[in-house]
């Protein structure tokens, strides 16, 4: 029934989306790459500098350190999301009484805007009146209030904790949906073949969940690698450079120092890092068809 004419009709359907994406994403991306070759204030000054910023970036270790810091941050956040998210998804998939209540509660952090989560935790970590210090002092774990976000050693860990809190529900939801799409009769069959609860998990659940896990892993890694808002609210990249992840660094380079060309060059490099991570994951765990 699909004649060759219907092919053209298909194009009409996707045309609005294609045009929008070309104008609003492809063009700005190319334009961003273009900006990266100029020393510019985006208005009057446009001095062509070629690859100067790329050479700059690679000739000292500063940017590399930011990337490593960001990878370090992303690694712990994603590990946290997967341990908590997978565990909870498996439990929420069991037929326990009152499970819906828990499901709703556990999704809450994901529903709070990032700014709200940032502010809320900034308040919890407040050195003077914060709940966190009050509880720890009450339990006798610390003697004096700690400035969690104002301290190079603790700020990085604090930011990771907040990011795990905010992001685990997303992983949990995606994996839960994946679990629920495994048909019940597969388990019946496995049981007849002599599978116990743990072998069924190993030979039925895990393989069936694998595609969902890979996609979730890629998305989660990339999302948190480029995360900006909560860290900006919590620490603005400080103290020192303790939480100065790349997106914050690029933002400051552009809108605090008005170094738009250099910021654009950094953004291009971050894109390649993100793309490489996605590519790497797919090569590692890919199911071959994509």
């Amino acid at each position: 029934m699909l004649s060759s004419k219907s092919g053209l009709k298909g194009v009409w359907f996707i045309l609005p989306a294609v045009v929008t994406l070309l104008v609003l994403i492809t063009y700005p991306l190319i334009y961003g790459a273009y900006i990266s070759f100029f020393d510019t204030n985006l208005i009057t000054k446009w001095d062509f500098v070629g690859l100067k910023y790329y050479v700059d970036i690679f000739s000292n270790s500063e940017f590399l350190n930011r990337i490593l810091l960001t990878l370090h941050y992303t690694f712990w956040v994603v590990v946290g999301h997967f341990i908590i998210g997978t565990g909870l998804a498996l439990i929420l998939n069991m037929k326990l009484k009152g499970i819906t209540v828990f499901r709703v509660i556990l999704i809450l952090p994901w529903l709070f805007p990032e700014v709200v989560v940032g502010l809320l935790w900034k308040w919890l970590f407040n050195p003077m009146y914060g709940l966190f210090n009050a509880v720890l002092m009450n339990w006798g774990w610390i003697d004096d209030p700690v400035s969690w976000l104002g301290n190079e050693q603790t700020a990085f860990a604090a930011v990771i904790v907040v990011s795990i809190w905010k992001g685990f529900p997303m992983v949990m939801m995606l994996l839960l949906a994946g679990l629920q799409s495994i048909p019940e009769d597969v388990y019946e069959a496995a049981k007849i073949d002599g599978c116990t609860r743990s072998t069924a998990f190993r030979y039925v659940t895990l393989p069936a969940l694998m595609p969902v896990m890979v996609v979730t892993l890629i998305l989660d890694t990339v999302w948190w690698f480029k995360h900006f808002t909560m860290i900006w609210i919590l620490t603005q990249g400080g103290p020192g450079n303790a939480t100065n992840v790349v997106s914050i660094d690029i933002f400051k380079q552009a809108f605090d120092f008005f170094n738009f060309g250099k910021a654009s060059a950094m953004a291009i490099l971050v894109f390649f890092v993100c793309w490489l991570m996605g590519y790497g994951y797919r090569r590692l765990f890919g199911n071959g068809d994509d």
């Binding site: 989306a17 294609v18 994406l21 609003l24 994403i25 326990l96 997106s247």
Partner: protein, 280 residues
């Protein structure tokens, strides 16, 4: 039989214990937000802090509307998010339908491009958008932000709609066409009504994106009364004096629409999200 039953209930108890601990870790910060919002200015600054305020008051909730341009922030966000969600859904539904029903050259490229957009950091777009919108006089305008939010939500929304349309049998289209419906009429009159749950889910996604977005709104809008909710709340985090109870009240109010929306739609939302993200 007896022993397996007992083992089973110990297992269940363990599971409940994990769920309760996890729920507490979620609820304690959340309840602390509520508790703070209900405190008076003096009571916020008491050490050690109290869980239940001595004189719970709704002062913060009324003050944010009176002392800050909170109503402006709220209405700005509603307007921007409503318009961008509407346009995003229209385009995403058309594209999702087109990609689910037709074969055409470049379809694979189109679909992979949608995924690639999830890969790059949005900060890459911030600088070019800033320049382009400046050129067109759209800085400090709601339309500038609407355009940005459409660009952000469209790729994922198209994937979600595609997944949804693929679940609707093609025989329906064919039957309608045999009855003499044009392609576009088939889409609007037969398929769209069936895909309302998918549209709802996609709309939530787009709504969440716009309602939460901070970085672009922070840079692209500078006039106080034009700002969106996240930026407005973010700047309550002021330099010299931080009024925590007001900030927590504002936080609660800005989170409520999302929570309410989600509670009504969660079933559709989760299944559509995975249909789009996972079943490729």
């Amino acid at each position: 039989m007896e022993t397996t039953k007992r083992k089973f209930s110990i297992f269940n108890t363990g599971m409940y214990a994990i769920l309760i601990v996890a729920s507490c870790l979620v609820l304690i910060p959340t309840l602390w937000m509520v508790s703070t919002a209900l405190k008076s200015n003096e009571e916020v600054m008491i050490t050690p802090p109290k869980w239940i305020p001595d004189n719970p008051t709704f002062e913060s909730f009324t003050r944010i509307w009176k002392d800050y341009p909170f109503l402006d922030y709220f209405l700005n966000s509603v307007f921007i998010v409503a318009v961008s969600t509407f346009i995003t859904i229209a385009f995403a539904a058309l594209a999702g339908y087109g990609a689910s029903r037709f074969k055409f050259r470049g379809k694979g490229t189109f679909l992979s491009f949608l995924l690639v957009t999830q890969m790059f950091p949005s900060i890459m777009l911030l600088i070019p958008f800033y320049k382009v919108l400046k050129t067109f006089g759209l800085i400090d305008s709601h339309w500038g932000l609407i355009v940005v939010y459409i660009a952000f939500a469209l790729p994922m929304c198209t994937w979600m709609m595609l997944g949804f349309f693929q679940g609707i049998p093609r025989e329906l289209d064919e039957a309608a066409m045999i009855d003499g419906c044009s392609q576009i009429r088939t889409f609007v009159q037969i398929i769209l009504p069936l895909s309302l749950p998918g549209i709802a889910a996609t709309a939530i996604y787009s709504f969440l994106m716009g309602w939460n977005e901070y970085m672009f709104a922070f840079i692209l809008v500078t006039t106080e009364t034009m700002k969106t909710l996240p930026v407005g709340i973010g700047q309550l985090n002021g330099f010299y004096k931080v009024v925590w109870n007001d900030m927590m009240a504002a936080s609660i109010i800005s989170s409520l629409p999302l929570i309410v929306l989600f509670l009504f739609m969660q079933k559709y939302f989760i299944s559509s999200l995975t249909a789009g993200a996972v079943k490729q």
